[in-house]
C-alpha cells in the first residue's frame, strides 16, 4: 500500500470524514428514493387522492405534489453540496495537509 495512503487511513480525521460523509450521502439518497417511489406509488395506488381538487378550483393535489417532488431533488442536492463543499472539504484539506 502507498505510504501516503497508509498515513491517511491511520488519521482519525479521515475516519471521521468518511463516516460522516457516507452517512450523510446515504441518508439523502434514501430520502430521494423514498420521495420518488412514494410519488410513483401514489400515482399507481392513490389516483383518487392526486385527482382531488384543492378547494373549489380545478387544480388538484397532484400538481403541487409533483412540483414539490421536482423541487425536492434540487433542494437535496443543494443541502449535500453546501455541507460537502464546506465542512467536509475543510476536513479533507486538513487531512491532506497533515499527510505532506
Amino acid at each position: 500500500m502507498n505510504q501516503n495512503a497508509q498515513r491517511i487511513v491511520n488519521n482519525p480525521k479521515f475516519q471521521e470524514l468518511v463516516t460522516k460523509r457516507s452517512a450523510f450521502a446515504w441518508t439523502l439518497s434514501i430520502a430521494m428514493l423514498v420521495i420518488y417511489f412514494g410519488f410513483i406509488l401514489l400515482v399507481a395506488f392513490g389516483k383518487e387522492f392526486l385527482g382531488t381538487p384543492i378547494g373549489s378550483g380545478v387544480t388538484t393535489w397532484g400538481m403541487p405534489i409533483g412540483v414539490v417532488t421536482i423541487l425536492s431533488a434540487f433542494i437535496l442536492t443543494g443541502i449535500y453540496v453546501y455541507r460537502a463543499n464546506g465542512e467536509f472539504d475543510e476536513l479533507n484539506r486538513q487531512i491532506l495537509e497533515e499527510t505532506k
Binding site: A5, V9, L17, S29, M63, F74, L96
Partner: protein, 575 residues
Amino acid sequence: MRAVTTRIASTAAASAAAAGALLPISAYAAGAVDGAVQKQATNVSAIVMFLVFVLFTLGITYWAARRTKSAKDFYAAGGGITGFQNGLAIAGDYMSAASFLGIAGLVYANGFDGLIYSVGFLVGWPIVLFLIAERLRNLGKYTFADVASYRFKQTPIRTLSACGSLATVTFYLIAQMVGAGKLIQLLFGLDYMFAVIIVGVLMIGYVTFGGMLATTWVQIIKAVLLLSGASFMAFMILAKFGFSPEAMFKAAVDVHPKGVAIMSPGAFVSDPVDTISLGLTLMFGTAGLPHILMRFFTVSDAKEARKSVFYATGLIGYFYILTFIIGFGAIVLILGKDANGAYPFLTAAPAEGIKAAVASVIGGTNMAAIHTAHAVGGDLFFGFISAVAFATILAVVAGLTLAGASAVSHDLYASVFARGRVNEADEIRVSKITTVVIGIVSIVLGVAFENQNVAFMVGLAFAIAASTNFPILLMSMFWGKMTTRGAVMGGAIGLISACVMIALGPTVWKAVLGHPTAIVGYANPGVFSIILAFAGIWFFSITDNSAQAQKERRDFEDQYVRSQTGLGAEGASAH
C-alpha cells in the same frame, strides 16, 4: 424539393393513432422523436436562425481547436470547465429535442401524466451526486472505464466497458439521427436526408477539430438558448392568465376533450412493477451514460464536480416545470379558439359544440410546443424555437460521438490494443479517425432506420447503461471484495439480460417484429437485469480466490483513499 404539405385530417388521425399506440412504451420521450410525421411548409426564418447558430458554433470550434493540443484537452477540455458551465452542459445533454417537444406534447395530450415522466428523468441526478460524482472525479481521467478498471485487469474490464459505452452510444445515436430527420421535416420543411447529412457532418466537425472544449460550449450555448426560449414561452402563457396557474388549468380543462381528467394521473401507470422498473432504469441509466459521465472529468476537482450536479439538477428541474406549463398552454392555445374565433393550429375546426380532438393538431402532438411558440411569439419566435429545437440534436450527438470515440481510442486502442504503450498524438489521431467513422456510420444508420420504429432504442440505451456500466462502476468504487472476474461476469450478465429481455418484450418482439404477444411481459426489464448484474458481480467475486483477486482486494484501500480525498487525482491541466 418541397413536397406538398398534407394537412388532411385522416393523416393527422393516423399519426395520432400511432402516437397513442406508442404511449405505454414511449417512456423515453426524452430521447426519441417517434411516430409518423408530415413535412411542413419551408420555414425560412428557422433555417436562417439555424445557420446563424451553425456559423457561431463553427467559430467556437475554430477557437477550441487552437486550444486543443494534449489528450487532456481533447477528452476533458483541459479540466478547465467551471462547475456552473459543466452544470449547463450536463443539463444540455439532458434537454434533448425530444424531451422538449416530447414532454410538452405528452402534457398537451394527457395533462398530468407528463409530470410523471419528468420526475423519473430528474431523480437520478441527486443519486449521481451523493454516490458517484466526487469519487468519479477523484479516480478518473478521461472515461468512466478509467474508474471501473482502476485496480483490475485492464484488458477485460476496458473491453467490457467499451462495449457497454459503444452499445449505449450507438442506440442513442440512431434514435437521435432518426429524430433529426423527422424534426427537419416538421420544423424546417426540408427533406429527411438533409437532416441526417447535416447532423453527421457537423458533429464530425465539432468533435474532430474542437474536442471536448467545442462539444461542451456547443452544449452550453444550446442550453442557454433553449432555457431562454422556454422561459419566455412559459412567461407569456402565464401572463395570459394573470399568472394564475388555476386560471390556466381551468381554461385547459374547458377545451380539452378529456376534461377534468387531465388534472389527475391517467392510464400511464398500469403496471406498478413496470413503472418501478422504469424508474430504476432511468435513475441508474442516467448514472451510466458514458457521454454524461465523461463530463465529470472536464472540471478541476471534486468540489466543482459536485457544483455541476447541483446546477444541472436545478436547471433540468426548472426546464421540466417550464415544459409542463408550455404543455398546458398548448392545450388552451391549440384546442381553443384564437382572438379571431379560428383554430389556426388544427387540421380542421371542430363542429360547433364539440371539443377539438387532441390528434387534430397540425403535424402531430410533437408539434404542440412549436405551435405554442408561434401563438405567443409570432413568426420570428416560431423560427427561433424551431432552430433551437434542431440545434439541440446537434449538441447531443456531438457529446455522444465524443464518448464513443473515447471508448475506442482511450479504452480499446490505448489500453487494450497497445497495452498503455502509446503516445498521446497517436491516441488522439485514433480518436479523430473513430469520430469520422462514427459520423459516417450514423449517417448510414440514420438513413437505414428512417421508416423503422426506433422508440425502443433510447430505452435500450438506458437499460444497457443501467445494467452494465452502472453496476460495474458503482461496485468498483464501493465494494472492496470485487474482482475482475466478478466485474466481467456481472457486467456481461447485465448486458445480455437487458438486451434479451427487451428483444423479447413488448417494445421489440410485439411492436417492431409484429408478433401478436410478447414473450417477456415487461417493457422495462431494468429491475431484473440490474439485480442480475449486481448478483453476478457479487457471486463471481466472492467465489474468486485467485492470486490476482487477492491482489485486487489489497489494492482497494489505495483506491478508497484517493476516491475519498482526491489524493493523487488528476489536476486541472497536465501542462
